[in-house]
């Protein structure tokens, strides 16, 4: 349920980093990513990674938990490690690049509400896709509640175990019921859109663009990352 947890961190935070404008944070993140994919020395990546850990702490976020989520690319790296012909060096580089990039995205998403990021993306994406992001986001939280409730219900009735065939079939049923609930929800959401005058686009506010003093931080991180990558090669 990482999405739900991440959403709470983003919406509930009040640090300077949180308060920086979405525009600045997206720009900063883009710079960091550019630096990461062109870095070819693991030391540069390590420095960027450490800087971001520091920022997370500064933003009063649970550093270890987030770093753990950012470790997902390690799975892919493992696959590469098992089929690499270039030796340990290449594995380290893959690991470093993947995980540092993931951490950069997590830094963005734990300090910026999804809805603001979607509002920003809405400027460049077609209407259905931009709206689709909002619709998916809302539906996710509504259905998560249904899903969690059903799982609890199954657990309370006893015998739910993910290690057994029974647990497997129960989960399939939970997903099935969640799906049906979802379709009913979709039906009502459709009615609501029709009733409220949906004109083909869900308009969002321009809050994401409002620059402020705190923007200096994410921009500094971005520029710093690029500089480090250029120097340490």
């Amino acid at each position: 349920m990482e999405l739900a947890q991440i959403d709470q961190w983003a919406v509930g935070g009040a640090s300077a980093w949180h308060r920086a404008s979405t525009l600045a944070k997206i720009t900063g993140t883009a710079l960091v990513l550019a630096a990461i994919i062109s870095a070819n020395d693991w030391r540069a990546l390590a420095a960027i990674y450490a800087a971001m850990l520091f920022v997370l702490a500064f933003a009063r976020l649970p550093v270890f938990k987030i770093a753990l989520i950012a470790a997902y690319p390690a799975l892919f790296a493992l696959l590469f490690a098992l089929s690499a012909k270039g030796g340990i060096g290449i594995v380290v580089l893959i690991l470093a690049r993947g995980c540092t990039a993931a951490l950069a995205m997590l830094l963005l998403i734990t300090t910026t509400p999804y809805v603001e990021i979607f509002a920003a993306l809405g400027r460049v994406l077609p209407a259905l896709i931009a709206d689709g992001l909002f619709a998916t986001y809302r539906a996710f939280f509504i259905l998560l509640e249904t899903f969690a409730r059903l799982v609890t219900g199954v657990r309370l009735r006893g015998g739910y175990s993910r290690w057994s065939w029974k647990g497997f079939t129960q989960m399939a049923e939970v997903i099935g019921v969640t799906f049906l609930h979802a379709l009913d929800l979709a039906e009502h959401a459709h009615a609501a859109l029709h009733l409220r005058g949906y004109a083909g686009k869900i308009p969002a506010s321009g809050k994401w663009r409002r620059v402020n003093a705190q923007d200096i931080f994410p921009l500094a991180l971005g520029v710093g990352a690029v500089v480090v990558t250029l120097l340490v090669r």
Partner: protein, 286 residues
Amino acid sequence: MPEIITHHKTWREIVRVHCVRHVYEDKTEVNLCGLDMVVREDERVAILGSNGSGKTTLLYHLVGLLRPLEGDVHVFGIEPHRAFAKIRERVGVVLQNVDAQIIGPTVYDDIAFSPRSYGFSESQVGKMVKEMLAELHIEHLQDRVPHYLSGGEKKKVALAGALVFYPQLLVLDEPFTGLDPQSRDELMDILNHFNQEHHLALVVATHDVDLVPRVADRAYVLSQHGIVAEGAPAEIFAQKELLRDARIDAPILAQLLNRLDARAGEELPLDVDGAAQWIRKHKSSL
């Protein structure tokens, strides 16, 4: 907001439903024949019926979501399923499932959804939204993300979205279900306030009979036979047979007074003060 209607009650009809029949996909049929349903300007009308009686079906016909196979529905002179867009700003709707109804990413954005979709300028939109936030006392929620709100708060947000154009008719489907008593009272106060101060006619579908006297001037009773009765709440609740047939309980106060031997057909008080008075008056004969 512009005062389109004059202040005194004009008795002008804004809704008429005449013998509607609807058949769903799964072949279940809903019969809404019997009496015509009529709503006039500034009126507060309740639609009473047990679950499955067709209340939601009736409401959906009013707002053009369903097309009658037989019969007619007219709202503000037009047939909703044909041209709802023409009357959209005059009709507000609050569905049973608030989660489905809230569209915007934040409360502010949700209330702003209709005005923005209509193309109002951002400053006009801002005015309209702020006015709604103030009217419903939810200014403190304006930047919040909807899925973290409580049921009562979500209901208010949905209501704000429905009232943003100051419509003349508000249709609500079981609005009080699942609300705690305080939220329920707040909701009723807001509805009555809008009815009195902003010329808002109400159509409330509910099975909660105890609330009907507080939020309706007239009530229609729905049963499997269609629209079977109409009248002031006090009249309706005095008809024990009718209620039993429609599978509705009379309000608890009415039940109590009936038990205390109230005469059949007598109009019974439906609020606590009225009931207390009645008991004091009839004290000697109890």
